[in-house]
Symmetry: D2
């Protein structure tokens, strides 16, 4: 069994918990799970959500069943989710500026006490993997592990974000209880923060991240690779996207939008080899769109003999399921990495699944290239070192 703790019971967590149960009950094919047909030692059926944390007063104390039923209109909600209740997590301003009533553990105790409490709860749950899917928040890397440790010790609440505190707790749990994988699919820099990579290495744990690669950016990456391989000179790239879920609402707050823009724009120079003029960022919020996202992309490039071609892409896609399907792999890969003793962070996995793959300074590469490198890496480095099908832990 593979015990998963969710941080942030929003749309992604809802789709993950619901989709997973439906697949386990045989009523759904595992579409949208990249490695569904790949012989990983952990099967999808081995995954079990054992707890969820949030700070929205409308969610804390409710069952995942009730939350998912309200959030996922038209989707049948498995009754097995009735027994998982949302626990109170840390807030640290992560929902500031959004229309939610939020309250976190840190309002009731010191940061150090909150960490202790989380570690205790996870010990009791026997957590194997911890998944961070809280709403996009502001976050600045620590860089230096010493500074991170001192900030928590001295209870400097303004200097640490919710994700950073959760990840610190995970590392502590990893060192004290059992090695754990921490999966960070939001933009907060963790796998890109040398302080955290060092912390997880020392704690014999794994941190994967940052910013789960869904939506338009992975496709843009592959389109740019496609053009680059043909020697076409890109004159500009424009990519708009708009949605109606909490993440898009959060991105109307400029400081949060900046977090996204940074990870999205790096692909242009990394893949093309030159910094083609571009406009790539979350563009707006229209509530009626809900969890659906509209993406418009326009690329102009020079082809052979100096002529100019034009490419237009429009997409309508469900934002959260795209990420939820990837989590089905990430929790298994994170655990596999822990089993194989590959502590710290792992570029080969991050490069495919993340928009801003850690460790810091890593290049964005096209997703098709990243996929094939990851599969090669899995075959050579991980699967060879593990029994084909692991015993239940």
């Amino acid at each position: 069994m593979l015990r998963v703790v969710l941080l942030g019971q929003g749309m992604v967590a809802n789709h993950f918990a619901v989709g997973l149960e439906r697949i386990k009950q045989g009523e759904l094919q595992p579409y949208g799970v990249p490695l569904a047909d790949f012989p990983l030692p952990y099967r999808i059926e081995d995954i079990e959500v054992v707890a969820s944390y949030d700070v929205d007063e409308d969610k804390v104390g409710k069952s995942l069943y009730r939350i998912a039923r309200e959030a996922l209109e038209g989707v049948p909600i498995p009754k097995t989710l009735r027994d998982i209740y949302v626990r109170r997590g840390v807030h640290l301003g992560s929902l500031r500026g959004l229309p939610f009533k939020a309250s976190g553990l840190e309002e009731r105790m010191s940061l150090a006490e909150a960490v202790d409490r989380l570690v205790d709860e996870w010990r009791e749950l026997g957590a194997d993997v911890i998944v961070n899917v809280i709403t996009t928040e502001r976050g600045v890397e620590f860089g230096d592990l010493g500074r991170l440790l001192s900030v928590i010790e001295s209870d400097e609440r303004d200097a640490v974000s919710a994700s950073q505190l959760y990840a610190y707790a995970a590392a502590r749990y990893s060192a004290e209880v059992r090695p754990v994988a921490f999966i960070n699919v939001i933009p907060s820099p963790l796998a890109n923060d040398p302080a955290y990579v060092e912390l997880f290495q020392e704690s014999r744990g794994v941190v994967l991240g940052d910013d789960g690669a869904t939506g338009a950016t992975p496709l843009t990456a592959d389109l740019l690779e496609h053009l680059a391989e043909r020697g076409r000179k890109v004159r500009f790239v424009v990519q708009f996207n708009i949605g109606g879920n909490t993440d898009f609402l959060a991105l109307t707050i400029p400081e949060k939008n900046v977090m996204k823009e940074r990870t999205k724009s790096s692909i242009v120079e990394d893949i093309l080899g030159y910094d083609a003029p571009h406009y790539i960022k979350p563009t707006g919020y229209v509530e009626t769109l809900g969890d659906k996202k509209y993406v418009a992309l326009h690329i102009e490039y020079v082809t052979f003999n100096g002529l100019v071609d034009e490419l237009y892409v429009n997409m309508r896609l469900n934002d959260s399921p795209a990420l939820a399907g990837k989590l089905v792999d990430l929790v298994r890969l994170g655990r596999l990495a822990v089993d194989a003793g590959l502590y710290g962070t792992i570029y080969e996995i991050n490069a495919f699944y993340m928009k801003k793959p850690g460790p810091k300074g890593s290049k964005s590469i096209s997703k098709i290239v990243a996929y094939h490198r990851m599969v090669e890496w899995l075959k050579k480095k991980v699967l060879g070192r593990l029994p084909a099908r692991l015993p239940s832990s």
Copy 2:
């Protein structure tokens, strides 16, 4: 030097000859040439067009300069093309049904005599590579080398297409004069015909093909790979394309359209692993579009948790330059293969550059995957076996 003979002085040949000269004269960057920055032993500057063949009475006897000036509005035509005159080639009905007055060598002599004449001319020119870019014609594979030889011997004109006779002549030249590479970028099956692959092996030559991968199909291949790698279940693929050049005009003749549809549709099952419902074929002809092509693509797929996403792509692209840029690589790769003694056909090259990569029975793979495999192959198998920069031949 790398001496190239062109078969078919249409738009692709015009862009190839003109773009090549402009690059050599330093007035143009080699955009649209996939391996422009890759350290191949043959440089772009080494390529020289030494002859061109056609059967259109409006072209035979004219200089490439004059033909290109009429065909490529707005593009400066290098004066170096004034010295190359179009020679009469073989027709064998390849322009039947199109509004051109065509007349081929076979109206003046037997097939065997036409072959002799071509071999003689190429000997005089010292041809290294022969490029087949005649208009899409009907063509059925021979399969058996014996049958091919007997057809030519017994002068059965209805049983052999222009491309097949040209390729036969190239193989004869390869065996009798010097090893040659024959590049087939039209749909006629040559690299996919076991008879021709055997013939070139025996003749110590190389045949690359079939059907140069330009336009929408390579992009569709990469988009399908992108979806497949995410485990998304494709519900259908629709791909329309319309243009105004001779190739689109030819495709309004149903038997020629079938040639294209076959190569385009195979990508769906080969890449996805199942035959998703699809409609992929050249759709129409509007003269005003000229060499520009309009492509519309629509894909619907199932993502995680059973939800449905939609993808729309629209393109406006210059059809012939896309292929002409690839020819700049193909003539160099063909010659390299000959130098390295890799006779017959070469899947690693075909898989990236061709829509229907030979040998027969080969799978279509995504172009990004094909590109990286080809580069690996080049590094290991070809470049290692050759001096870094070849002496002029």
Copy 3:
């Protein structure tokens, strides 16, 4: 009350019958009904479907409830449709070439007897409006009323289509029983056939048609008008569309496709004032698309100072509901015209609702212009001559 007889119980008839009942029961807003908020004397609630005809052996004898439940996945089907059973109509080859087992009245009796039988049944039902929504069939105008009469009299089955025989029966009913409106929303020429217009005038009935304007063509018409009013010179128009319903399947049969292409292409010259190069026709069939249709449109035009602009439109639309919503108006307008004594056909109505508005020789105009002219006409010519709210008939 306004008693409606449906000819052809396909997707359009299903959506019409189901949507109408749902609106009457208050569970649905009348979206998609152009004149829903216009004070027509007949309200939507006055419309009642009293009978339906088909020749598909899988449908004849079944209730509309059962047929709609199988055809409209995910739509709640009103139980009031349980009491309407599909009657056998005339076939005359209208489903030839399609994978249905079809059998018509004409296999059991002469044409004249079939007409008598229809007139008798409609008398019993008290039909006010007859709606023709059978699958696109081949049909050639008679032009001369005498020839039409003689064809039926002499039982020449190959010289008359199902629509033509139905319309003849309607005219007979109009003359003998009560004035009736015949609404023809398929391409068969009726409102465009002088023979039929004369026949309905003499029979004190109304024929509206031909070919209901739904899908991409009305939008293309308005886009062309938009460009024309700005003096922009259209260089070409490309419009593809593909679907998965019976109508698209029928259009894979070339002779039926021609029927559509003709009506679609006339808009270009009629609206622009010159025949811009264009490719506008139903393009393909992919069953998985079902009743959804994918449309891709591309227009290039010259703007001020000789510069060139480009416009791309992509649509995903439900094909049959678009027409069904218009039928909610057409049956009311048809009846109003009869009440007002406006016999024959009525360009003001046809121009907005039809792709090929009768009478013969009428120009296609943009739909926005047609709408406003129709509304003016309704205010002046029809509403002024009628009581504001008619008594139930």
Copy 4:
């Protein structure tokens, strides 16, 4: 002759001046001019640009020929533009925040003196029409004529924008020298400011505006009308647009963007009759796009029987020529209105040509409807009152 003064020698003024001369010299068709074929008493050939004003130090003192040659790459520039030199106009902060060195008359004299100087110059030139195409600036309506007059008198530079001062000077000229038409095609409220409408009425002049309707918004208006006329319920409208000219650069300054957003968004409720959720605003700036604009539009609506359709539009259009072509009409219509004594502002003209048609409180209507109303109005109110072809003034 129709003497035109241009305010703001940017891209629109360049295209207007160059396109006009090319049409007059017979080397260009008048494409992009809505009323090119309409028998207005003033012909295109009657228009003459007599002066131009700007505050960019790089432009003041240069000839229109030189400015246009640098700005319009690839367009032949008529030599007749060599004799028109750019004069210094008023700045009043209109280019603040943009990377131009700007200096206006008001740095050299009081506002009242600047007005006197402009009136004197226009008297000398015999100006008939004054066209305002300066870069989008911040501007707040006066509302009250008294306040406007006192602001100028007391030299309150922060309370008046460049457009407002220019328009005031035009009104003064109209009252003192000869009736004039002032055409305002930027968002600053003039035709929407009751103070200015009253001022022009009193001065026996005409003010047309505001914000010339080009680009995506007129098309969106017609698409919304198209949907509204079919009773379709719009669920949301998203419209992005991005460009690379000065106007887009200006719109990256939030207070200027607000000016545009306001005029663009009003069309939704005005045309649909309800305020469908929407996101319609200039979205970004990428210099490489130059004067080309990329527009992406997405509309989702409910059709009959509760089903949902989707519409996507992508455009690549030349921004400035679209407006320049409309100016060819507006200067003629403005002068005609003056000739006909229709002082103040004229909704019938504004409704078609403007995004925010004055007078204040006017509804946005669809452009196709506006066009036909304007043509009716022209036939009835203007052409009937004037000789068919006016003598040169």
